[in-house]
Subunit: 215 residues, 3 copies
């Protein structure tokens, strides 16, 4: 076990998260009768889209351009859905946990990359949230649906909560590893509680049926 270092552990989590994010994109693409290529693109976009937007805003080369592992991982996710087909539905609760792990990890990773470039905490929280949640928005734009995270249970807000805990830990001068664990765990807990108890934010009182603004 002594060889099982922290970076290796993070890499395993990263792989799990990427896989789960890609699965989510591929499954929704399959519901829209996309072909294998289309499903792969949606899977990849779900998995790496958030980090790509973050890196473009930070003025950095998108992270996946330096290591093919993320594209390979998404290809394995495609293979998984092709092989298991409708049985993937029964693996739902496992993928929910994997997806939540990905959300937690990507939030922390996104925050730390932003902080390391000298941006203040509030920018880091936004970038952490984008890293975790923007891939799902791109996915929903591609499959031509209203983005799920704008309407259903708390998802992106879990990243914000994780970001606030990160800031709190830093302020209290808590050790980095502990800060990361507290921050990531808080994302995980908020997300799991939200899904279990169907917690969601209030819906904005709509102006019924009004989808166009007439001035």
């Amino acid at each position: 076990m002594s060889n099982f270092t922290m970076p290796a552990f993070v890499q395993v989590l990263e792989f799990i998260g990427t896989f789960a994010f890609a699965i989510s994109g591929i499954r929704l693409a399959s519901a829209k009768r996309f072909d294998w290529f289309g499903a792969y693109v949606v899977g990849v976009a779900t998995a790496i889209g958030g980090g790509t937007i973050r890196d473009l805003m930070l003025g950095k080369t998108p992270f996946w351009m330096t290591d093919p592992i993320f594209l390979i991982c998404s290809a394995l996710a495609l293979l998984w859905v092709i092989v298991f087909g409708k049985m993937v539905i029964r693996q739902q609760s496992t993928f929910f946990i994997f997806d939540s792990i990905g959300l937690a990890l990507f939030t922390v990773v996104g925050m730390e990359k932003t902080l390391s470039l000298g941006f203040p905490l509030w920018v880091a929280i936004i970038m952490g949230t984008i890293t975790g949640a923007a891939g799902g928005v791109i996915r929903d734009v591609f499959i031509n649906e209203v983005p799920l995270i704008f309407r259903k249970e708390i998802y992106a807000l879990a990243c914000v909560v994780g970001g606030l805990f990160y800031g709190l830990c830093e302020w209290l001068n808590i050790d980095l590893i502990v800060t990361e664990l507290i921050s990531g765990t808080s994302v995980l807990v908020v997300r799991i509680l939200a899904a279990k108890y169907h917690l969601s934010l209030p819906v904005l009182k709509g102006e019924d049926g009004k989808c166009e603004q007439d001035y």
Copy 2:
């Protein structure tokens, strides 16, 4: 009054424009029954989306990452819609004016940032138009509607007209402040006239019901 400097005046206009843009995003999100978080994201995207695309194309850090005022202003817009609810409809004409002020200001600001980086006038006009109008396109993509500005009254074209006036004034060696005022006013006038008289460009004769291309 002597302390009420030009920069302060521009900041007030910027706040008004951001607020109006965010309100427009939040209202349309509410019509789609988005939750508070979703509505906030759409509001923010409407308000800062255009300038963000501009800055990415110019190779600059997105403007809102250096000053939280734009996110705060969008949060106030969300609060406004939550508090006033359907009464916001009655404030419509006020928000139309605010929105037009934002359109005018953002166009001029976008142009000047582009020109200051050494790009030619035609690039500046495009960047001014993107700054003013692209946020509304992102908003409509998020709420899964065909972008309004591609079909309804003249909107983005007002930015182009303002850009042409800016170029004309520069060519005539007119003072910078006067150039800005003429350019911004022309955006405002075109937009207000377009809305008042429902001026719109011709619609392209469609190939009826054809939404897919068969080769």
Copy 3:
């Protein structure tokens, strides 16, 4: 003929490809009853969208910001559709060839720009594919349709095939011009065969009617 150099030849192809891509965007916009401005924006986005995303990811200024020819070419495409109207349908097979030429050329151009910046082949293949095919995705997002290339005959995959041939030729130390011709031709051949014989990838077995994931 001796003055008709290779760069001039490439420029002619570039013009043809840009024109065909813009036509495709403008036609689909017209089917959605967009106005002239909206149709122009969709045409431009189809023509330059892929290369713009590539350049942003590569950390470069978008290519069209240094030469107005691409915007002029898209304007000519708009004029073409306005003048010829429904007759454009009859020019379909010509535009299909032009579109395929554009796809081939943009793939090769995108790959070479990426390789010249020191990125490995697999990144270049992705960037070549994005250059060729991402404009069509942006087009379909703007007209609020599920992206065509995710569901219909092989399109983006032709770029991947062309990219693999490029890599093979490089590995065999084949002359640059010949490499470019082989790579571009393979894109062309795959795309034309796919369209002629309606070749498409398998569709992913959908979870019927499931467009939202319930965890």
